[in-house]
Structure formats: structure tokens, C-alpha cells
Amino acid sequence: MQYTAGTSVAGAARVEGVKYDEDIVKMFLIASVTWAVVGLLVGVIIALQLAWWPANLGLPWTTFGRLRPLHTNAVIFAFGGNIVFTGMYHSMQRLLKTRMWSDTLSRIHFWGWQLIIVSAAVTLPLGLTQAKEYAELIWPIDIAITLIWVVMAVNFFGTLAIRKVEHLYVAIWFYMSFVLVIAVLHITNSMAMPATLTRSYPVYAGLTDALVQWWYGHNAVGFFLTTPFLGLMYYYLPRISGRPVFSYRLSIIHFWALVFLYIWAGPHHLLYSALPEWAQTLGMIFSVMLIAPSWGGMLNGLLTLRGAWDRVRTDPILKFLVVAVSFYGMSTFEGPMMSIRAVNLLSHYTNWTIGHVHSGALGWNGMISFAMIYWLVPELWKRPLAHPTWPTAHFWLATIGIVLYTVSMWAAGLTEGLMWRAFDDSGLLKYPNFVDIVNQLHPFYWLRLVGGLMFLTGAIMMAINVFQTISRPSSSTAAAA
């Protein structure tokens, strides 16, 4: 059977008498563009601090140690979270042929989530932290996250319950894994006994605390930055390219394999620690088994583009998608390699880890988000982009920026990993003074800053483009749209 792209109902604001809630999608989209710029800007500032220490400003609130969690929380939960919610509210109404179950819950979710982000932006520079990576926020904010998450989940499952279709499209399964698993992870890892309004003690002690933390930490990557973004890929990539998904079968198998295997892989963050070695082995081998299920997503993305490659050359949105999926494949190969004991011995605690995280976060999450934003803005506001040529410039800035970032961090990571373990002829450490190693890394820190600045510049261009597009009167362009 020959495939014909697009039907007349696809993407329409109204179907069979249902009017979709477009406002909530617009709200989340504007929030994600705004937080993208904020989160990336803080990232560039802390990159500068590592290359040039006076940028710490000598103030406690602006030191690296306090701004670094602000950067990670802003990019993961503010930029990443808001773009996922943008895509969920936009695509699930269309996939389920129904408006969201409750507009009120949608709005409580939106404003609650933004309030949580603002409270994070206030408390982290003040030094209020639980000192758990990616779970730094203090207990009152943790409770707020739980409540808002429940609001979102009730609305999500309520909408599923009133859906007008039988079949659940693959994107919905990925969203579902996100909604369920993040709730379990957040609640389990944040269990703490409050002592004061801003301080608490974890209920787990010592090694158990470390294991729960990295079970959470690794699955924050798996179920916040991977499965919901795969859901977005499964909706937006075929919609934007107008091509059928390569394989339904592959999507089922890689979905179940991915969610089953991911949840075990956390202990690879604790190799060569006090964690019992059988648990370390489990973390390592489950990570290696994750290669194929991860690549299943990449394959289904890239093979869906068969027949659309000629357009990749000219369409910046497709370019963003291709690079996003490719970086997803690259970093999901690199991750399992780094979880192998012998490799981890060299890579752990080095800048290689930072490079790995950013090839995933900038390359996969960032690029797919930019594709979505550039495609959604003209769809939602029903007008062309104010600067139609800028996305291509943004694409090249971002791509070259990521390459500079990851290559400099690979080089820095290998350099310091090898220098730490080097012995001289008499069996002594060849580089006993830590500062000697730091001096070797210094040029790479500057190079990383250049890469980050390019990525930020692209994002600022996108923000200007988006805000100029939506703020100009629609009357002149509405007729053309």
C-alpha cells in the first residue's frame, strides 16, 4: 500500500465537535523558552567560573557550588519539564481526540510548576539544599512537587479515561511511564524527617541513601530526559516529516525493554564504592543491556525519515530532529561503555562525565525541543515565524557548540583521568599536586565556555524569534495561514 502523507483532520484545533485547549500549550511553550534562556545562561556563567575564578564574585550566593544546582534544576526541570508538558498537552489532546479532562487542573499544574521553579531559583543560591544531586530542593518544595505532580497525573489519567479512541498511540505509553515512574522516584528519594522549615534529615542512612539517590538520579535521566522525550519524538517526528513510523513492533519491544532495564542501572554511579559488588555488577550489566533498547528509539526515528532526507537539507526543523536523534544514539552508546568497570576506572569523577551528560542534554533534549518549538509556534499562533531564516543559523550555532563542548570535555576527562593514575619511574605519583592537573585542564574549560556560549546564543535567537512572532498582530498574516 502506498502511503499518502497527512490527512485533513491531522493537527486541527477542532475534531468531531471537540475544541482543544490550546492556551495551556501556549503557556507551557512560553515558559519553556524563557527557562531555556535562564538555565543555559546560568550554565555559561558557571562554565566561566571554572575557567576564570573571579567570576564567582566573592559572594556566597554566586559561587559555583550554589549556582551549579541552579543550572541543573533550571535546564532539567524548568526547560525540560516545561517542554515535555508543552508537547504532552498539545499531542495527547489530538491523539486521544478529547480536550483535557480538567482545564482547572491544567492551570494549577502550570502555575504550581512555575512557582516550584521560582522557589528553587531563590533557595538554591541561598544555600538551602538537601545535597542530593538533581534532588537538591528542600522538603517543603519536595512536598509541593508531589502535590503538583498528583494534580498533573489525575488530569492525565482523567483525559485517558474520557478518550475518544480505542488504540493508544506509542507516544502515550512513553508519557505514561514518565508520569508514573517520576512520581515513585521523587517520593522515594525525597523521604526525609523535617527538622526545621528549611532543613531535614534523609530517612536512609549511609550506603542505602547513596543507592536510593543514584537509583533516583539515573532514572531522572531515564524517565525525565529519555522516555517523555521519546514520546515527543514519536509524535512530532512523523507529524513534522509526514512519514509513517518505521515499525510499530520495534516501538513496543524497545519501550518495554527500556523501561524494564533502565530502573536497574543506577548502581553504575557507585562503581568502586562501598556498595556490595554484586549490586555494582547488576548496575553495570543492565546498563550494557540498555544499548539496543535505546538504539531502538534512534532507529525508529531515523528510519521514519526514509523518503524525507531530501528535505533535511533544506528544512532546519528536520535538521534539528536528525541531530537530536543521532546524539541520542551516541550518548546511549557512550553511557553503557562508561558503566563498564574498566572504563569507569578511568572516566569516573572526570570531566568526561560532564561531556557525556551534555551530549545527551544539549544534543538530544535541547535539539528535539528546538525542533518542536519552531514547528509549534506557527501552528499554535497561526502565523509564520518573524525571522524564518534564523532557525538555520540557530541550528549551526547549536551543533558546533555541542561539538566543541563534548570534544573539550572528552579531552579534559581523558587528560585528568590518565594524569591521576600516572606513576613515575620510582613508583610515585607522577602528578602529586592536584593543581598541576587543573592547569592542564584550563584551556579545555575555555573551549567548553565557547561551545556553551554558542549554544546559548542560538537559544537567545530562538527566544527573540518566538516572542517577536507571537507579539506581532496576527491580522496581517492570518489570511495567509
Binding site: 500500500m1 502511503y3 497527512g6 490527512t7 483532520v9 491531522a10 493537527g11 499531542s91 489530538r94 491523539l95 481526540k97 479512541v165 480505542e166 488504540h167 498511540y169 506509542v170 509524535y235 512523523p238 507529524r239 509513517p244 513510523v245 518505521f246 515499525s247 510499530y248 513492533r249 520495534l250 516501538s251 519491544i253 525493554a257 568502586y272 559488588e277 554484586w278 555488577t281 547488576l282 553495570m284 550489566i285 543492565f286 550494557v288 543491556m289 544499548i291 539496543a292 533498547p293 538504539w295 531502538g296 532507529l299 528510519l303 620510582s426 613508583g427 610515585l428 605519583l429 602529586p432 599536586n433
Partner: protein, 192 residues
């Protein structure tokens, strides 16, 4: 498989916002990779824990045995190295001190985080063997590193020679062979 089976749409598009899905078979190389990682993971785990009986402790012991064979133990060697107050040793010691010691003992050696090296108080003994011992083993409870494995016996003897000669210059008292005179604790940098 025949070409006919490829690229058949499932016909769910009306329930997926117009998105068509093919039901293509899993690529063989992808399946092969998946099976290979599973088999490899299981075999690795069985081998590591039940066949080779590997462990971090075992790996460390093997590496230490290797190191012992390659390089004689540093601690014994350190004890055997004599502090020589030759001009060459003192000059070499100055370089070692500048690179490693000034951040705590001060560029003028008059103390900072660590105690003053140019007074007559020797907290851990002022004889050359005491000084070498203090540097080699460190004073971990006060934050002084265990320099033995970092500097090695030769550099420790050199830096001790430099400290002794500078101290002699500053105080006019030969420190050699003299244990601490513990009365004076008011000097800058001396922990009380």
C-alpha cells in the same frame, strides 16, 4: 522475507492524529546486538563472581603486589635516607618546598595554616629523623598530608635539609639533635 511484507501500514492513523505506522520486522543486526548484550551481561556476572571469584579487594592486592615487586617499599627506604646538608640538597629542597609546602607554611616559611618553620618550637621533634618522619607520615589530624608516597624519600630528605638550614639561619640555633623546647607557644602560626 518477501518485499511484500515490508512497509505495510497498520491502519491506526485515524486514532493517532493521522500518523501512520508500518509494522516492519525488527532489524536482524539490532536483535543480534540485543541478544549479545544480554548473553554477555549474564556471562560476565557469572564469571566475575562465581568462576574467577573476582573482587576489588583481590584486584587491589594484585596491584599492590606488582608495585611491591617493581618498586621497594617507600617507608623503609625513607627511614634509610640520610639528610645531608650539602648545598645541592638544600637547593633541591627549596624547589620542593616552593612547589608543595608554601600554601600552608607560608612563602616566608613563618606559618599560616601550618606552623612556623623558622622558630625554635619543634612540635614533632627537631632532629633530622623527626623532621623526615613528620613529613613522610604527615599529621593527618592537623591536616598535614602524608607526603611519603607523594614526594618519595629523596625529595623528603632534600626538603628537610632546606628546612633545617633555613631554620638555623633564622634562629641562630642548630636544630640538629635538639628536641623541642615546648615553652613558647605564642609565636604566630604555632597551634596551641
Amino acid at each position: 522475507m518477501s518485499k511484500k511484507e515490508l512497509n505495510q501500514v497498520l491502519g491506526h492513523a485515524d486514532e493517532a492524529d493521522g500518523i501512520e505506522e508500518y509494522d516492519n520486522p525488527l532489524p536482524n543486526w539490532w536483535l543480534g546486538l540485543f541478544y549479545f548484550t544480554i548473553v554477555w551481561g549474564v556471562l560476565y556476572g557469572i564469571n566475575y563472581h562465581f568462576v574467577a571469584h573476582n573482587s576489588e579487594v583481590k584486584t587491589l592486592a594484585a596491584e599492590m603486589a606488582d608495585a611491591d615487586a617493581k618498586w621497594p617499599r617507600q617507608a623503609e627506604a625513607a627511614a634509610a635516607t640520610e639528610v645531608k646538608l650539602t648545598p645541592e640538597a638544600v637547593a633541591a629542597g627549596e624547589a620542593v618546598l616552593t612547589a608543595n609546602c608554601v600554601s600552608c607554611h607560608g612563602a616566608d616559611m613563618k606559618g599560616g595554616i601550618g606552623p612556623n618553620l623558622l622558630d625554635t618550637t619543634w612540635i614533632h621533634g627537631g632532629a633530622p629523623e623527626n623532621i623526615v618522619n613528620t613529613i613522610t607520615k604527615g599529621v593527618p589530624e592537623k591536616g598535614m598530608l602524608t607526603w611519603g608516597p607523594i614526594l618519595g624519600p629523596e625529595k623528603i630528605a632534600e626538603v628537610a635539609a632546606y628546612v633545617i638550614s633555613k631554620n638555623h639561619e633564622a634562629t641562630g640555633t642548630p636544630a640538629v639533635g635538639e628536641p623541642a623546647a615546648p615553652a613558647d607557644t605564642t609565636k604566630a602560626g604555632s597551634p596551641s
